[in-house]
């Protein structure tokens, strides 16, 4: 190194001009929560239990999602449909208790792939924070999508966030 380089002052000055230039560049920061980064359509977020067009729950408590889950996050209890409840459930067996432990879930989507009735799928939102572990065990009320027949407005809003369930078969 010659004397000019050994002084390090020119190198320091060059470095400082680079950092100074960076001050005026555009920042890639996204101002969450005012703006959110757009997710891809196949993003795996929170689970949603689906209903069909008449508002009947699709889940039949077959247990395939619980078996497929690698983290053993899903538990359920089945019940038989009573004669007056045809408008609530599609088939004769339904899930009386359906719980997903969000702390165990790894959001892999295997339950979505395993379900034969298109009853569960993963939406775009992600799990909000909570103070206790018990708050993270989501029961059926938090997971079910609102009824399109009785609560049309909420259903439309919920559907608006998840466009992937178009074109799914029975």
């Amino acid at each position: 190194m010659n004397l000019w380089e050994k002084m390090y002052i020119p190198a320091i000055a060059k470095g400082m001009s680079i950092t100074f230039g960076h001050m005026f560049k555009k920042k890639p920061t996204v101002n969450y929560p005012e703006k959110k980064r757009p997710f891809s359509p196949v993003f795996r977020g929170l689970h949603v239990l689906n209903r069909d067009e008449e508002g009947r729950e699709r889940c039949t408590a077959c247990g395939l999602c619980a078996v497929a889950c690698p983290a053993e996050a899903i538990t359920m209890e089945a019940a038989e449909r009573l004669p007056g409840e045809e408008n609530l459930y599609r088939e004769e067996k339904y899930a009386a208790k359906y719980e997903i432990n969000m702390l165990r879930c790894i959001f892999c989507g295997l339950c979505e792939e395993a379900c034969p009735k298109d009853a569960i799928y993963l939406s775009e939102t992600f799990a909000p924070a909570n103070y206790t572990r018990k708050g993270f065990i989501y029961g059926k009320e938090e997971l079910l999508i609102p009824n399109p027949v009785t609560e049309a407005a909420e259903f439309a809003q919920a559907k608006g966030r998840t466009e992937r369930s178009e074109g799914r078969g029975a």
């Binding site: 320091i12 470095g15 400082m16 680079i18 950092t19 100074f20 960076h22 001050m23 560049k25 920042k27 890639p28 920061t29 101002n31």
Partner: protein, 357 residues
Amino acid sequence: MHLTLLAFDWVLLLEKAVLILIIISVSLVVAMYETWGERKVAAFMQDRRGPNRAGPGGILQPLADGLKLFMKEEIIPQSSSKFLFVLGPGLAMLTAMMTSAVVPWSSHFHLWGRDISMQIADVNIGILYIFGVVSMGVYGIMIGGWASNNKFSLLAAIRGASQIISYELAMGLAIIALLMISGSLSLRTIVEQQQVGRYYVLVQPLGFLIFLICAFAECNRTPFDLSEADSELNMGFHQEYSSMKLGFYLFAEYVNVFISSAVMATLYWGGYDIPFVNDASLVQRIGQNPVAVLQVLSLFVKIVIFIFFFMWVRWTIPRFRYDQLMKLGWHVLIPLALFNMLVTGFVVLLRQNHWHF
């Protein structure tokens, strides 16, 4: 006014007390907002935004930080020496604040028939006082490191102390060359000379460079911050501290930055002189008080530019290794400062002798 109780000037005492209060609060507020400035400048240089949630643009962030520090638990390690443990941060903050006593913040205000000078103590050994106080700053670090009863803190404190005393020498030698030209140690005289002549940075560029590098070392700022090297020694000598004692150490560093910037601006860049403007004729046109306010503003603009420069260097240059640092201080800066002194002495003698040998 005839307040001749005990035959000394009570009003002067009151005036100085108010001035001291104002300067201390301003130092603390500036140190607080330096933390905000540091985070914003660091963020902008790293292509991100910095704190922008607490108040518009993150302005209230230092208040949130201060509140957080107050609310934390005060941990005093049981095997430490309690008296020294509490004394360390206090000493660091004390020496940081004491230096502001001799810096001239403005010329003088003319209020109520009195000339109130904006310098707490115009001692005629101003620069020597600054060096004395800065040397005492070493105590704050050493005591902090020793009292923690922690080998790593002690190591870091020893490194920090040796760094400070090595660079004090070079700083003093650089100032001697300045003294040869100005002929006086009093800071106000130096500023007044710069008001009529040219700024001393043009007369002593090498001296300014040496002083700048030594100021970085004195404040323990990157690239000389191995006493708090985040990746090597954790937090260095203030590792065992929590809550406001830690806050005092961090604040003392920022107050040191502020005061070093003020001293640099005063010694080399004209202090409170408004650049490119003839201050005496401005006084004739506008009046003394507005000009004094403008002069304070001009000093603060210079200080802010220097503080930005401190932060700019921190986020650009990697840290020095300990032996590189010592080599720089003793092998490079002291010979350079001596050379500067020689050349300055030579030119001053020549000038006195009317430019012939």
